[in-house]
Amino acid sequence: MAWAMDGVRERELVRLVREDCGSCHGLTLKGGLGPPLLPETLQDKPEQYVVLTILHGHPGTPMPPWSPFMNETEAAWIASRLKAGFPDR
């Protein structure tokens, strides 16, 4: 997959994940109302599952869909970074 993203958008996404995903998953992504989003907890989950979860949420749970705020490339970038260990900033 090609990364059609610039550094500015990457920094925006890092901030979005830390802060707005962080309100449920914790700023350090160690979990809260939502489960931890750490490499060790995501390692057995296919990247595509993480991408679809981010874009469409899990209906019937508090996990909301983020497709109104990002495209598939951006969700895939977040998913791969989550699996590798998410940057601080």
């Binding site: 309100s23 700023l27 350090t28 160690k30 508090p62 909301p64 869909p65 705020f69």
Partner: protein, 395 residues
């Protein structure tokens, strides 16, 4: 004996002299002090709401995302509950960390008993509540939120102090309300109210200590327990407030606390809707709903109850709206900056302090004219907590 008494007198006198001498910490009360959380730095700033400035900061408090604070009954010490399970005791007068314990893996806040002796933390992981001696932070009681037949533990939300060293809280995963009587912390007496509704997400006790409300995420409604008539059990109010419409996705969970009540009415966030629900606390019937700019997160009454201030979930978290409770109309829409996280009124409500995370500022507004009175630079500010909470049930 006599020697001890004399020492006890001499030492504070000396300390006061020394303090006055070097003027590092002038002798003062704490009634106009408070703390602002710097969530990313793991610090709190000590602020003075009369001078409208920061007096200094206290570091080393761990992960402060979703941190909250309660105060000792002399309003000198703050108990800071961090997300990482850290419980820290901070001295506002000396601006120092007195003590810190790690009490859980993942924590979501706490409360303090009516007599000020016990500080209680509510935890997601391991799910349950723990009580600590307010003086020493020594563990006094541990009450796992076990439910069902397989020994599962629920995440705990909505912890509130009740009169008589009791605490009410809700079990998100189990759909229960528990009331724990910690009169004797060694033998906690827990009364459980099952089947209160799906996924309670937060709770509040009314300022008179009589009613406990748990907001529900998994269905439209609020569970209500009359603590003067606990034998009647919990019942549901505002049932089906969404009127069968699909709720919008929720990007941040709303919060409930005693500040939701203004006079006779409670102002509650509608989950997944751009509305504030108004409930009569005599009849517990809906008396109105107010369309607002986004999904409400904090719906806070000014101490005199004449205004209610509202902030919103992502992506509308750059706004704050003000409702006039006499007319039921919105009278002001403010843009303090992106990422409005929290609001706190000064003790009698002439000013309100608002944190804007993304612009690294805390803005102080005059609540009558809505003019900015001061702006304080604070890196990624979140919660703001003033010491008047020390004297109020459910704060």
């Amino acid at each position: 004996m006599r020697v001890q008494v004399r020492n006890a007198l001499i030492i504070p006198a000396l300390a006061a002299l020394m303090l006055a001498g070097c003027s590092a910490v002038p002798l003062r009360g704490t009634g106009d002090l408070g703390l602002v959380i710097e969530r990313e730095a793991g610090k709190v700033q000590v602020v003075d709401t009369s001078a409208r400035k920061s007096l200094g900061e206290v570091a080393g408090l761990g992960d402060l995302s979703h941190a909250s604070i309660v105060y000792s009954r002399d309003a000198r010490y703050a108990f800071v509950f961090g997300r990482d399970g850290g419980l820290s005791k901070v001295d506002l007068l000396t601006g120092s960390l007195v003590k810190r314990v790690m009490q859980a893996g993942n924590s979501i806040g706490g409360a303090i008993s009516q007599d000020g002796r016990l500080v209680v933390a509510q935890n997601y992981e391991p799910g349950g509540v723990k009580a600590f001696d307010a003086e020493t932070l020594e563990l006094m009681a541990d009450i796992p939120a076990s439910y069902g037949t397989e020994g599962k533990r629920s995440r705990v939300v909505g912890l509130a102090d009740l009169p008589g060293r009791r605490f009410a809280y809700a079990l998100f995963d189990a759909g229960e309300i528990w009331v724990a009587d910690l009169s004797d912390p060694k033998k906690p007496l827990v009364t459980k109210y099952p089947n209160i509704g799906k996924e309670p997400y937060d709770g509040l006790v009314t300022p008179d200590g009589r009613h406990y409300l748990a907001g529900l995420f998994g269905e439209d409604g609020v569970a209500l327990l009359d603590l003067w008539h606990p034998e009647q059990g919990a019942r549901k109010i505002l049932e089906g407030y969404g009127k069968g419409q699909e709720k919008l996705p929720v990007y941040k969970m709303p919060h409930l606390r005693g500040w939701s009540v203004a006079g006779r009415h409670a102002y509650l966030p509608a989950v997944g809707r751009h509305e504030v629900l108004v409930v009569d606390t005599e009849t517990w019937k809906e008396t109105g709903r107010i369309p607002v700019k986004g999904q409400p997160v904090f719906v806070m009454a000014r101490p005199d109850g004449r205004q209610v201030w509202i902030n919103f979930a992502f992506p509308d978290n750059g706004w704050v709206q003000v409702l006039d409770t006499a007319t039921g109309k919105l009278v002001q829409t403010l843009e303090p900056g992106q990422g409005v996280m929290h609001m706190e009124f000064t003790p009698r409500g002439e000013s309100v302090w608002v944190s804007s995370r993304n612009t690294n500022r805390v803005i102080v507004y005059d609540t009558e004219t809505f003019r900015e009175q001061a702006v304080l630079p604070v890196p990624a500010p979140s919660g703001i907590f003033f010491t008047h909470r020390a004297a109020r049930i459910g704060f």
